[in-house]
């Protein structure tokens, strides 16, 4: 069994080394927080959920199986926490995830300027705009895009975390990209 860097930190944490868990949190805090905030779209809730996540990982760490990758195990905990929260607050999420609402119109309502100049946008601006559109697409597509690109997971790992077949994961990610492309084409943003 190959023990990676994360697993060494877990072993040290289980031995009672505070610094090891702090190191582990520092390593994952950005990815976890970015995932959570893009899922729930509320900073205060995201901070609470991220804290709950690290607390939960710590309390169930003794149940972690060293044969599996730590990141997949941890992301699964994170995903379940976020989905539980979203289910409990379904009404708010429904209003945000109504598929009849176009991401394009949502962006317009957020005063994102799409006046002249988009065609000549710098790559950084295009990237920022792509990620703003990601925030507006329906949850079932957004969660997979976030796992694929924020958490840098493979399709198989996403399938394991979400309990979806790998084919479904791929199809949804493709579909998400189609939605994103259509939205971006409206502004001629992908022609750069």
């Amino acid at each position: 069994m190959i023990v990676d860097e994360d697993q060494v930190l877990i072993k040290r944490t289980l031995r009672g080394e505070r610094k090891a868990y702090e190191e582990l949190m520092r390593k994952y805090e950005k990815k976890i927080f970015s995932f959570v905030i893009r899922m729930v779209r509320n900073e205060d809730v995201a901070v609470d959920l991220t804290q709950d996540f690290f607390f939960k990982v710590y309390t169930v760490m003794d149940k972690y199986n060293f044969e599996y990758k730590f990141s997949t195990w941890a992301y699964r905990i994170c995903y379940n926490l976020v989905i539980d929260h979203i289910r409990k607050n379904q009404a708010q999420v429904d209003s945000l995830d109504d598929e009849s609402v176009s991401p394009h119109s949502l962006l317009a309502s957020e005063n994102v300027s799409k006046e002249d100049g988009f065609k000549n946008m710098a790559r950084e601006e295009t990237r920022d705009y792509v990620w703003q559109v990601v925030d507006q697409i329906p949850l079932k597509f957004r969660e997979l895009i976030l796992m694929r690109y924020i958490q840098d997971l493979k399709y198989e790992e996403i399938a394991e975390i979400t309990s979806l077949p790998v084919g479904t994961v791929k199809n949804r990610i493709f579909k998400a990209k189609e939605i994103l492309k259509k939205e971006m084409e409206k502004d001629g943003m992908l022609d750069g």
Partner: protein
């Protein structure tokens, strides 16, 4: 060859197609401007997605979690200081309660300290002053309580206060450990 579907273009970009299919798609892209444009747009999109915009968590988040996971444990120095304080408290209590101020050893120490100078003598004098003050305070409190309450109750109340103070000391010392054990359980 008919124009490519978005799915085919994406699958090709992800490297999901076999060599023959991928080659056919590349050939088609060479001759079809519309598909080439769609392919370029997906590449552009993938490039943007592959460099995600991360959100910066609040700076105080990790210290807060650490505080929640590991409530401040007393350090060795604070444990030693608490034990020393308890010992001093206990000795003072015994000294005051059994009125050791008249014992020959204490009298001898006082006489020696009074007749000499230097840091050790000054320390003995200071301790003696503090003990005398503590004894005077105890006697005054005891007299007051006995005047207000029946004799056994006054002494019992004073003893109870001393015990409560000891209990508080132990609670402050062990509290953080208790919290940590609770956090682990929950």
């Amino acid at each position: 060859m008919a124009c490519l579907t978005d799915e085919k273009i994406l699958a090709c970009g992800e490297g999901d197609l076999n060599a023959i299919e991928a080659s056919r798609i590349r050939d088609h892209l060479l001759v079809c401007r519309a598909c080439r444009l769609a392919d370029a747009r997906y590449r552009n999109l993938n490039r943007s997605l592959s460099r995600p915009v991360f959100s910066e968590p609040p700076a105080g988040m990790i210290p807060q979690i650490m505080q929640r996971l590991y409530p401040a444990l007393p350090r060795y120095t604070s444990i030693i200081a608490a034990i020393a304080a308890s010992l001093v408290f206990l000795i003072t209590w015994i000294y005051v309660y059994f009125d050791f101020s008249r014992s020959s050893l204490v009298q001898a120490l006082r006489l020696t300290a009074d007749g000499t100078s230097g840091w050790l003598a000054n320390i003995i004098k200071a301790i003696s002053t503090v003990y005398n003050a503590a004894q005077a305070a105890y006697k005054a409190a005891n007299a007051l309580l006995n005047a207000l309450l029946p004799a056994p109750m006054g002494t019992a109340l004073l003893t109870g206060s001393v015990l409560a103070f000891s209990g508080l000391l132990a609670f402050l010392l062990l509290g953080p450990r208790r919290k940590r054990a609770h956090a682990k359980k929950s």
